[in-house]
Amino acid sequence: MRIVVCVKTNLDLQMVRIRGREPVLEAVPYKVGDLEKNALEAALKLKEGGLEATIVAVTVAEGDRKIGETLKEALAIGADEAVVVNDPALAATDQAAVAAALAGAIGHTGGADLVLCGEGSTDGYSGIVGSRVAELLGVPQLGYARSVTVTDGAVTAERSLDDQIETLRAPLPALVSVVSEINEPRIPGLMQIMKAGKKPLTELTLADLGIDPQAAGRQTTVLSDLAEEQDRKHIMIEGDAAEQAAGLVDALAKEGVLRR
């Protein structure tokens, strides 16, 4: 069977800084997102558990970004092959066009029995691309899985909802999105990294998928994107530990936030 893992190239949020109220994104590197690593790990666990499967990492890129590095990381972690829809028209787009490109790439490269993705990307975190892909592929979806098993042509997932744990089962093909607690993603070793360069990598454009780049525009407009204004006192309490502790307790008592 073919397991497709949707991999987004995320901004490394650890490197995002705020200047004034503006986010500084220049020179912020991209990397395989954390939740995507969980999805990849889930695919690898299924395969190591005895499921005969080819694992395909699929991603989208906007033409010029060093996407090869991301896919190499996915291949090093354990994907067998990688597919990228690399098209300048995807530079200024949002979730619907990304989902269309992912679903198109899946259809174009042999389909999928199981699609795995993260519950959201660590940077954008809309959490809706997986749903859109499932709808486009016309397959059932099992979102927010904290466990996933495949038996007898069906996938079972225990999903972690706000107030409940729900166990769902669906016949394949199906889409499963995973939450971070599903597993601890492995870190590839040097040998895996060396081998990754030799694995097959397919590059496609939107035209290859029969998608009109004109139709890949944004559905939403971001009017502003600024850090929240914070009005804080910024009082640093100096001294040794005992003096600092006494100073803080005094200050908190004056704030009226202590219970006794």
Partner: protein, 316 residues
């Protein structure tokens, strides 16, 4: 008249959406309708009217019994056709977000999830949501003819609700059974803690070197009569349960006092803290970003500062 249509699987969230949607719909010149789906639909319909809906579409088709996402999306798409809905307000729960994507895709609609406030600007709805892991707040407008907003719990105040006409409309839908089978449901295990309602919180981060050292944080929380919370990384280490996470992947708190101990202050955490009235930070690194958010900062070793703090609190 075109409608704003609200839906959530949670009756409480649906009422909040109706209460908030009422005001926005009026401002936009839209009617406000609601969808009540599933076995309890008829029972919740009148509540939705009382919370603000002029029309409540009721459907209890057997395919809706467990409210599976694919069938709910199809039901709402069909109701949208009958009710001329051009704007959806859904609840931004996990179910709601899953639904938002599926419904938006069916309707060629743009969607914005995790909305923390909604306003009308130049005749269009604009939703605010945290962006870049919570470092920023993005104001987003949807440009498609049909729009889907998934709104976080408690954004709208149900106490502000004004009743709508509440006309109940039974709709006949054509729904195929879900592709997903519900095998079972269980309550979340583990101690349930409601950090979002907690008035005082002590947050622990990676400054704690070992699991057993968290007893210090527990003792500080006890001395303050505060709830104990943590960053995602401590929950990832399984030092504390997931329901103690504050931040992007956990609780968005608004306590009177937040004391962050051994927390560097990555935005993924501070997004859950920034609405606290008073913020205290204890960290060895004076450059740690948490100090930019702090009202009171202590640069020091938590293993010295926290015992001293507990002592000072006890001797008050």
């Amino acid at each position: 008249m075109a409608d704003m249509l609200i839906y959530s699987e949670s009756p409480a969230a649906a009422c909040e959406l109706a209460a908030g949607g009422r005001r926005l719909a009026t401002e936009l010149g839209l009617g406000l309708s609601a969808a009540a789906l599933g076995p309890d639909a008829a029972a919740t319909a009148s509540d939705l009217g009382a919370c603000g809906a002029d029309r409540v579409f009721v459907a209890d088709d057997p395919a809706l019994a467990d409210l599976p996402t694919d069938v709910v999306a199809e039901a709402l798409a069909q109701i949208a056709g009958q009710g001329e809905a051009e704007c959806f307000l859904l609840g931004s729960t996990r179910r709601g977000k899953e639904l938002a994507g599926r419904l938006a895709q069916k309707l060629d609609a743009g969607a914005v999830t995790d909305v923390t406030s909604l306003s009308v600007e130049d005749g269009a709805l604009v939703g605010a949501r945290y962006s870049l892991g919570g470092a920023t707040v993005a104001e987003v407008r949807i440009d498609t003819p049909v729009k889907v907003f998934a709104v976080m719990p408690k954004v709208f105040d149900v106490a502000q609700a004004e009743a709508g006409a509440g006309e109940v409309v039974r709709v006949g839908l054509s729904l195929a059974p879900s592709g997903v089978e519900l095998v079972g449901r269980a309550a979340r295990e583990g101690e349930a803690v409601d950090l979002e309602a907690a008035p005082l919180i002590v947050g622990a981060g990676r400054g704690f070197a070992a699991r057993e050292d968290l007893d210090l944080a527990r003792d500080l929380a006890a001395a303050l009569e505060a709830e104990l919370a943590c960053t995602k990384s401590l929950a990832d280490f399984e030092w504390l349960p997931e329901d103690r996470i504050v931040g992007l992947s956990g609780a968005k708190t608004s306590p009177d006092l937040y004391v962050g101990v051994g927390i560097s202050g990555q935005v993924q955490h501070t997004v859950g803290v920034s609405r606290a009235k008073t913020i205290v930070a204890v960290n060895t690194d004076k450059e740690a970003p948490i100090f930019r958010l702090a009202d009171y900062g202590i640069v020091g070793d938590l293993y010295e500062v926290v015992p001293a703090l507990i002592e000072a609190l006890k001797s008050r």
